[in-house]
């Protein structure tokens, strides 16, 4: 025996549960460098026409209004909210934050290019600039042995003083990639995002030009998760879950009364 009210309420419970997972993930990443919060996208499921307006009711008369009953809700996906996170100064010369649009390019172990907003770079044993997970950035930048006073300019130029030289040597330039629809990038974990058909092809360029955000060295972009906002969402989700379970309880009671009394 299938009951529309029970099923609509069940879809509500499922959707609230998914939303809670999204909120939990946002909150868990409140201190993740460069993290962008997700939002669960709710979508109404199709309506069912129980009585169609205009269909004959009795004799010559017709129903003026219909009975369209909804079948519930679903979470169609998550939308990444790409607002700028606040910048925190770290004074570490290899920490870089992007102010504005753009992503750092990173080479994954399987040779793919991934994109990230997390600029907490460090040096590998071989002297290449790598992410906190040890993945080299693209284009690869090598810091020679004995180099000191590494600086990264707003346009991405990496320079350092090399032992025995008085002049500052330019070692390379960090480029950033932009996307027409950055919301379409696919998150794969470890702060990394992958290009998809929806995001469009990356437009690689120097930081601070043609819409690419400029770089700020010695700073990190904090996550854009607002704890208070997430907590309010959490309360809202919890209450909505409760109301949906009340609905199931009430409908169940109706059915029980019917089976017991008749």
């Amino acid at each position: 025996m299938s009951n529309g009210a029970l099923h609509a309420a069940r879809t509500g419970l499922d959707a609230q549960n998914t939303r809670m997972q999204v909120i939990a993930n946002n909150l868990a990443n409140v201190n993740t460098v460069g993290f962008k919060r997700d939002r669960a996208k709710f979508e109404t499921l199709a309506y069912q026409a129980i009585v169609t307006p205009g269909s004959p009711s009795a004799g010559d008369s017709k129903y003026a209004i219909g009975l369209n009953l909804g079948t519930g809700v679903q979470v169609a996906g998550t939308a990444r909210i790409d607002t700028q996170g606040s910048l925190t100064t770290t004074s570490n010369s290899l920490d870089v934050a992007i102010e504005g649009a753009g992503y750092f390019q990173v080479q994954t172990p399987d040779g793919q290019t991934a994109y990230t907003r997390a600029g907490d770079f460090s040096l590998s044993a071989e002297g290449t600039i790598v992410t906190s997970d040890g993945l080299p950035i693209i284009p690869q930048i090598q810091i020679p042995d004995g180099a000191s006073a590494i600086t990264i300019g707003a346009d991405g130029t990496v320079s350092a003083t090399i032992t025995g030289q008085t002049e500052v040597t330019e070692l390379g330039r960090i480029e950033t990639a932009r996307f027409l629809n950055a919301a379409g990038l696919q998150a794969i974990g470890n702060n990394l995002l992958l290009e998809t058909q929806s995001s469009g092809a990356p437009q690689v360029g120097a930081a601070g030009t043609e819409g690419h955000g400029s770089l700020r060295s010695g700073a990190l972009e904090a996550s854009n998760v607002n704890v208070v906002e997430e907590l309010v969402d959490m309360i809202e989700t919890q209450r909505a879950y409760e109301v949906n379970s009340k609905m199931i309880q009430s409908t169940d009671e109706m059915m029980r009364n019917a089976t017991q009394q008749l």
Partner: protein, 247 residues
């Protein structure tokens, strides 16, 4: 007795339909721009009998509640909330012009501007395709401006205007796909005075308290009708008892 139980049965069907409509409202308490459905029963009098004492109950969803929902600032460029009772024109699945209050816009892989559930948004000149752009903004009058790829950020270009319509004086109804249409066909005129709030989102207008009261009411009404049916059964049994011949 048969008449009594059939009248009660129609009322029970109605109570369950109302319960389903309420369940759907509650399930969509978090869907952006959702408008609650209002279910009402009407009496359907059975004519012709010597005493017109019987009326069947018929449940119907009379309309959607068009009260505004709560507007929350989100900071996302493509989130918009509508002021007053303005509706956003969209293209329904069957190609009709339909209307919605849902304002979490997104860009499809092909560059088409759609609402959060994938319904294409209509501008004054039909569906809106966004060219490659450095940034997209929507102003309070519904004009979409972009900074073209590599263009000057200080000189945004207007590429389209969202069609905002006012439902005042027209009868709009929610279809099976959840978007609004003018009853009997037709389109709403573009309302140049309509406005929107950028970087904000309007929530669902489902009121949890009202929904819970509706739910209790429907379940009590169901129980009352059940009682009537079981009383009818008792009366019938008592009649049968009276008629039994003494042994």
């Amino acid at each position: 007795m048969d008449r009594l139980i059939y009248s009660s049965l129609t009322a029970m069907r109605g109570a369950m339909a109302r319960q389903t409509a309420t369940a759907n409202n509650i399930a969509n308490a978090q869907t952006p721009g959702f408008r609650a459905d209002i279910a009402k029963a009407e009496a359907l009098w059975l004519r012709g009998a010597p005493v017109e004492s019987r009326a069947m109950a018929r449940e119907s969803v009379v309309a959607a509640d068009m009260k505004a929902g709560t507007i929350v600032k989100t900071g996302r460029d493509l989130d918009i909330a509508f002021e007053g009772d303005a509706l956003l024109a969209v293209q329904a699945e069957n190609g009709d012009e339909a209307y919605t209050r849902r304002g979490d816009l997104q860009i499809s892989p092909a560059g088409l501007l759609t609402t959060g559930d994938g319904t294409p948004v209509l501008g004054s000149g039909g569906p809106i395709i966004l060219p490659p752009a450095d940034s997209v903004a929507i102003d309070p009058e519904g004009r979409i401006t972009i900074v073209p790829q590599g263009g000057d950020a200080a000189q945004p270009q207007e590429i389209a205007r969202l069609k905002l319509a006012s439902p005042v004086g027209s009868d709009v109804v929610k279809g099976l796909d959840g978007v609004f249409r003018v009853r009997g066909g037709g389109v709403l005129p573009d309302d140049p005075g309509a406005g929107l709030i950028a970087r904000s989102l309007e929530g669902s207008n489902v009121n949890a308290t009202t929904a819970l009261v509706d739910m209790i009411e429907a379940s009590r009404s169901w129980d009352t009708q059940l009682k009537l049916i079981s009383d009818a059964r008792d009366m019938d049994a008592a009649t049968a008892d009276l008629m039994r011949l003494p042994q």
